[in-house]
C-alpha cells in the first residue's frame, strides 16, 4: 500500500505545466493516468534497483577477498527452495499487477468516446495534412483542436509508415498505408504542443513535425470560420506572402528557394525559366513546345498550375515522378493561385525580407506587406 501511496505522491508532484521529473507537460485527459502508471512502475523499479545495488555493493565489500592466498572456505548455502520460491512468486505478483494496470489504461486509450470531433489526417513524406470535414478546412503541418472535447483523428498514409505522436497528450499511433488507423485525445489545456512523426519514414523523418493548437471552444469556432474563408478574405496583394508562409512548408522538402537541387526543381528563378519556355521533359520534348498561343499552356501560370495539381503529366528531365498527385484534393483553387503567384513574385518576396539568403522562410517577422489577415491568425494563436 505504501508503494501506491508513494507513487501517487510522486505522480502528483508536478509543476504548473503538469510536467514531472520524467514526463513532459501534461495536456490531455489521459496524461495524468499514464503518468501515474509510469510512476507506479518507476517506484517498483526504484525499490528493486536499490535492493539489488545495495546487496551487490554490500556483499562485494563485506566479502571482499583480502588476498589471493586467502583460503576458500565454501561457506553459505548452495541452494534453497524457499528463497527461490520467494523471488519467483513476488515478482510474478508484481508483474501481474503492472500488466493489469497497463491494460486498463490502454483500453481507455483505444476506446474513443462516441461524440468525438473528427479530423482526417493524411501523412506523407514529409508533411502532415489535417482536414476538418465539418468546416471544409485543410491545414498543413498545423492542427487546431477544441479544448475539452474528445478529438478523434482518422489517419491514412499516402506512401510509407508514419506515426503521429504528441508527447503532451501521451498518445501515439502509426499511420499505415493501405488502411485507416485512429487515435483520440481530449486536450485539457489551451496552448500549442509539438507533434512528431515517430516512425522512421526516410530522409526528412526528423523534419516531419507539426504543431497542435488547443483553443477554447468559441475561439476554435472562430478560427475554423476564419480558416475556411482565409483565402477568400485575403487581400490580393497578400496572396504570395500567404502562400510562402502558410503553404510552402509542404513543398519545402523537395523544392528549395535558393537554387539548391532537391527532389524537385528549385523555385528560385523558376518563373523566368517557365516564362521563357526553358527546360526539357523526360518524354524528350521541351517546355517550349507546350507553351504559347496554340500550345497546351497559354500562360506560364497554366503550366505551373497543372504542375501542382497533376505533377505526373510532364516530368522534368533529371527528375523523377515523385511528387504526390493528391494536391488537387488538398488545395483550394485560390490557394493554387496563391502558390503560382508566390513563384512569380519570389524575387519581390526576397527583397521584402520574407526569405533570407539561405532560402529559409522568415515567418515570424511580417515586414512591409499589409497582411492584416495573416496577422490576425498569428494573434489568434498567441491568444490561444
Amino acid at each position: 500500500m505504501s508503494i501506491l501511496a508513494e507513487a501517487t505522491t510522486l505522480a502528483t508532484t508536478v509543476d504548473a505545466t503538469g510536467a514531472t521529473f520524467w514526463m513532459p507537460e501534461a495536456a490531455s485527459s489521459v496524461s495524468g493516468k499514464i503518468d501515474w502508471i509510469f510512476e507506479f512502475i518507476n517506484v517498483i523499479c526504484y525499490i528493486f534497483l536499490v535492493l539489488v545495488t545495495v546487496v551487490l555493493v554490500w556483499f562485494a565489500v563485506k566479502y571482499r577477498r583480502k588476498s589471493e592466498g586467502q583460503e576458500i572456505l565454501g561457506e553459505g548455502p548452495t541452494h534453497g527452495l524457499a528463497l527461490e520460491l520467494t523471488w519467483t512468486i513476488i515478482p510474478t505478483g508484481i508483474v501481474v499487477a503492472i500488466f493489469w494496470v497497463g491494460m486498463i489504461g490502454y483500453i481507455d486509450l483505444r476506446e474513443s468516446p462516441e461524440d468525438s470531433y473528427e479530423v482526417s489526417v493524411t501523412a506523407q513524406q514529409w508533411s502532415w495534412a489535417f482536414a476538418h470535414p465539418d468546416y471544409g478546412v485543410i491545414e498543413g503541418n498545423e492542427l487546431h483542436v477544441p479544448l475539452n472535447r474528445p478529438v478523434r483523428l482518422i489517419m491514412g498514409s499516402a506512401d510509407v509508415l508514419h506515426s503521429l505522436y504528441v508527447p503532451a497528450f501521451r498518445v501515439k499511433q502509426d499511420v499505415v498505408p493501405g488502411r485507416y488507423s485512429s487515435l483520440w485525445f481530449t486536450a485539457i489545456k489551451p496552448g500549442s504542443y509539438q507533434l512528431y512523426c515517430t516512425e522512421y519514414c526516410g530522409k526528412d523523418h526528423s523534419k516531419m513535425l507539426a504543431t497542435v493548437h488547443v483553443l477554447p471552444e468559441d475561439e476554435f469556432q472562430a478560427k475554423m470560420g476564419k480558416l475556411a474563408r482565409e483565402y477568400e478574405d485575403l487581400p490580393e496583394a497578400d496572396l504570395p506572402a500567404y502562400a510562402l508562409t502558410k503553404l510552402y512548408n509542404r513543398c519545402s522538402s523537395c523544392h528549395s528557394l535558393d537554387g539548391e537541387v532537391r527532389s524537385g526543381p528549385t523555385f528560385k528563378g523558376l518563373w523566368d525559366r517557365v516564362a521563357r519556355g526553358e527546360g526539357a521533359f523526360t518524354n524528350g520534348r521541351t517546355l517550349q513546345e507546350y507553351m504559347g498561343p496554340g500550345g497546351e499552356y497559354e500562360l506560364p501560370e497554366n503550366y505551373l498550375r497543372e504542375s501542382i495539381l497533376n505533377p505526373g503529366k510532364l516530368i522534368r528531365e533529371n527528375y523523377a515522378n515523385v511528387m504526390p498527385n493528391n494536391f488537387a484534393s488538398q488545395l483550394k483553387p485560390r490557394q493554387v493561385e496563391a502558390l503560382v503567384l508566390m513563384m512569380k513574385h519570389l524575387d519581390r518576396l526576397a527583397d521584402e525580407g520574407w526569405i533570407d539568403e539561405d532560402g529559409n522562410v522568415q515567418q515570424p517577422e511580417m515586414p512591409s506587406v499589409n497582411s492584416s489577415a495573416s496577422r490576425d491568425v498569428e494573434n489568434m494563436e498567441e491568444g490561444g
Binding site: W22, I37, Q70, I98, M103
Partner: protein, 571 residues
C-alpha cells in the same frame, strides 16, 4: 620423475599449443580447430565493434546541436542504420557464442572439438561473406532503412523518397549472416548432446554451457524465419510480389510480425550467453559455489521458450489489433520472471563468498547493475499504456543499450578478460583493467541514462535533428560527452589488451581459480585441448583449490581428494 608427476593438478606447460601447433596464414584461415576459429571470430567481431562504435560516435556527435552538427539528414540515417545493423548482426549475435563459445565450449565439455569442425569453419566464412555484403551496402547506394528494414519504405526504390540502393546487398548479407549463426547453433547443440564425455552429465555442465545451449535452440529455430523474411523482402523490392507492399495489396504490419518473430528471440540470443558468462564468472570470482544451479539452468531454457511468444510487444502502436496487443503484453512479463530468478541467484552466490575485485568480476558486477536497470525499464515498455507514450522514443534506445551494450557486450568483455589468459597465454595488467572498467562503466551510464530522460520527455528516435525549443539539447550533450568517455574507455582497454599479447606476464593454467575443465588444461591449450584427460567433478566446488604464489595461479589443494580418486592424492 619430473615435477609434473609431483604435481598432477598442474598440466604440463606444453610448448606445443594451439597457437603454434601449425604455422602460416593458411593454417589459420582454413583451420578446423575450434579454438582458432573462435579466435578468428573474436578478431572479426571486435573489429566490427570498432566500426559500429565509430558510427555510434558519429551519431552522438551529430546530435550535439539541434540542427545537426556534422551530417546531412541522409548521412545521419545511414549512420544509425549501419551502427545498429553492424552492432546487431555482426557484433553482438556472434560475439559470445561464435567467438568465446567456440573457444571454450568444447574444452569445458571435455571434448576435443565441436561436433562438425568443417561446418564451424564454414560458419566463419559465411560470416565474412555476409559481413562484406552488409558493409558493401554502404558502397552500393547506401543503406538508410534502420536495422528493422520496415516495409514499405525499404521496398520503395524511388531515389528521392525511397530507401537507398543498398537494401538488397544488406539483406543478402544479413541472410548469409543468419546462416552463419544457424550453423554455430546446430553445431553446439549436437556437441553438447553427443560429445559429452562420460561423467559430464547435464547437471555437471558449467552454467555457461546451459546458456549456450538455450541460445543455440533460439538460433536454430528463429533464424530461418529471418532468412525467409529477408528473402521475401528482397524479392518484393526487386519484383514487386505484393506480400508486404500495400500498393499491391500487401500488408506492412505482416512484415513486422515476420521481422520480430525472429528479432525478439534474437535479443535473447544476445542476452542468454551473456547471462551464461555471468553465471560462471560470478561463482569463480566469488570463489563460492553457485547458488541455485538448477534454477539458473532451467531459467535459461524458460527464457528461450517464452521469448518466442512475445514478439508483438514491438508492435503495440503499429496497428496491431488491441486483442493481440493485450496478449503479447501479458506474455512479455513472463520473461521477466526467469530473468529475476537469475539476478537473485547471482546475488545469493556472492553471499559469504570471497570476492576478488579483479577486472572480470568488476565487469560482472557492472553487468548485474546495468542489466537490472535495462531489464526493469523493459517493464515500462511491456506495459501497454506506457509503451504508447514511450515507443520509438529514446527511452527505447536507452533500454536496449542497457541490455545490449551495457549487459550483453559488457558480459562479453567480462568473458574476454576472464578467458584472455587462456586464449593468449598472457596476463593483462590488472590496474589498467580496473581503470578501463571505470571509464566504461561511468561513460556508459552517463551516455544512456540521460537517454531515458530524453525519451520519456518525448524525443523520438532516428531523428537527425530536433526542435530547438524542445529543451532536449542539454541531455543530448550529456549523452554525447558520456559516449566520448566510453570511447576512451574502450581505447584504453584495447591498448592494455594489445600490450599484454606482446609483453604480458605468462599466464598460469588457472589464474582465477576456476574449476571448469578449461582451467585444467594449459594456457594456451594444446592443439587437442587436453594433454591429460581432465577430471569431471562439481565445477562449482572451489574449496579444493588453493593459491600457489610460485605459479601465480590456483592449483589443486594438497589435502583434498580429486573426483574419481579413492584417497587424496599425496604428492
Amino acid at each position: 620423475m619430473t615435477t609434473l608427476e609431483l604435481n598432477p593438478d598442474q598440466p604440463k606447460l606444453v610448448d606445443d599449443n594451439y597457437l603454434n601447433h601449425t604455422r602460416g596464414l593458411w593454417s589459420w584461415l582454413f583451420t578446423l580447430d575450434h579454438k582458432r576459429i573462435g579466435v578468428m571470430y573474436l578478431v572479426a567481431v571486435l573489429s566490427s565493434f570498432f566500426v559500429g562504435g565509430v558510427f555510434a560516435l558519429l551519431v552522438r556527435t551529430q546530435l550535439l546541436t539541434p540542427g545537426g552538427a556534422i551530417m546531412s539528414q541522409q548521412q545521419y540515417n545511414q549512420a544509425f542504420t549501419l551502427h545498429g545493423g553492424i552492432m546487431v548482426f555482426l557484433v553482438i549475435i556472434p560475439s559470445i557464442p561464435a567467438a568465446l563459445g567456440n573457444f571454450v565450449l568444447p574444452i569445458m565439455l571435455g571434448a576435443k572439438d565441436v561436433a562438425f569442425p568443417r561446418l564451424n569453419l564454414m560458419s566463419f566464412w559465411l560470416w565474412i561473406v555476409g559481413a562484406l555484403f552488409f558493409v558493401g551496402a554502404l558502397f552500393s547506394g547506401g543503406l538508410d532503412t534502420g536495422w528493422t528494414f520496415y516495409t514499405p519504405y525499404s521496398i520503395d526504390s524511388r531515389p528521392e523518397v525511397g530507401a537507398m540502393g543498398g537494401v538488397i546487398p544488406a539483406v543478402t548479407g544479413a541472410f548469409i549472416l543468419g546462416f552463419a549463426s544457424i550453423f554455430t547453433g546446430m553445431n553446439f547443440i549436437v556437441t553438447i548432446h553427443r560429445l559429452r564425455p562420460p561423467g559430464m552429465t547435464w547437471f555437471r555442465m558449467p552454467l555457461f554451457l546451459w546458456g549456450i545451449y538455450a541460445t543455440a535452440v533460439l538460433q536454430v529455430i528463429a533464424t530461418p524465419v529471418l532468412g525467409i523474411t529477408l528473402a521475401l523482402l528482397a524479392v518484393e523490392r526487386a519484383f514487386g510480389i505484393g506480400i508486404f507492399n500495400p500498393e499491391l495489396g500487401g500488408d506492412p504490419v505482416l512484415y513486422q510480425h515476420f521481422f520480430w518473430f525472429y528479432s525478439h528471440p534474437a535479443v535473447y540470443i544476445m542476452i542468454l550467453p551473456a547471462m551464461a558468462i555471468i553465471s560462471d564468472l560470478v561463482a569463480v570470482h566469488s570463489h563460492r559455489h553457485i547458488f541455485g544451479y538448477r534454477f539458473i539452468a532451467f531459467s535459461s531454457i524458460a527464457i528461450a521458450l517464452f521469448s518466442f511468444l512475445v514478439w508483438g510487444h514491438h508492435m503495440f502502436t503499429s496497428g496491431q489489433s488491441a486483442l493481440v496487443n493485450v496478449i503479447f503484453s501479458a506474455i512479455t512479463f513472463s520473461v521477466a520472471i526467469p530473468s529475476a530468478i537469475k539476478v537473485f541467484n547471482w546475488l545469493a552466490t556472492m553471499y559469504k563468498g570471497s570476492i576478488s575485485w579483479n577486472t572480470p568480476m568488476l565487469y560482472t558486477m557492472g553487468f548485474i547493475f546495468i542489466f537490472t536497470i535495462g531489464g526493469l525499464t523493459g517493464l515500462h515498455l511491456g506495459t501497454l499504456a506506457t509503451d504508447v507514450h514511450l515507443h520509438d522514443t529514446y527511452f527505447v534506445v536507452a533500454h536496449f543499450h542497457y541490455v545490449m551494450m551495457g549487459s550483453a557486450l559488457i558480459a562479453m568483455i567480462a568473458g574476454l578478460h576472464h578467458w584472455w589468459p587462456k586464449i593468449t597465454g598472457r596476463m593483462y595488467n590488472e590496474n589498467w583493467g580496473r581503470f578501463g572498467f571505470l571509464l566504461v562503466f561511468v561513460g556508459f551510464n552517463v551516455t544512456f541514462f540521460s537517454q531515458f530522460m530524453l525519451g520519456s520527455q518525448g524525443m523520438p528516435r532516428r531523428y537527425a535533428t530536433y526542435p530547438e525549443e524542445s529543451g532536449f539539447q542539454i541531455y543530448h550533450v550529456i549523452s554525447s560527452v558520456g559516449s566520448y568517455v566510453l570511447a576512451v574507455g574502450f581505447f584504453v582497454t584495447a591498448g592494455y589488451l594489445a600490450q599484454s599479447i606482446f609483453s604480458g606476464r605468462r599466464a598460469p593454467a588457472n589464474p582465477w581459480g576456476g574449476r571448469s575443465l578449461e582451467w585444467q588444461c594449459s594456457s594456451p591449450p594444446p592443439h587437442d585441448n587436453f594433454s591429460e584427460t581432465p577430471t569431471v567433478g562439481d565445477c562449482y566446488d572451489f574449496t579444493v583449490l588453493e593459491w600457489k604464489s610460485e605459479e601465480e595461479g590456483y592449483v589443486w589443494r594438497s589435502d583434498s581428494k580429486r573426483p574419481g580418486q579413492e584417497s587424496p592424492e599425496a604428492s
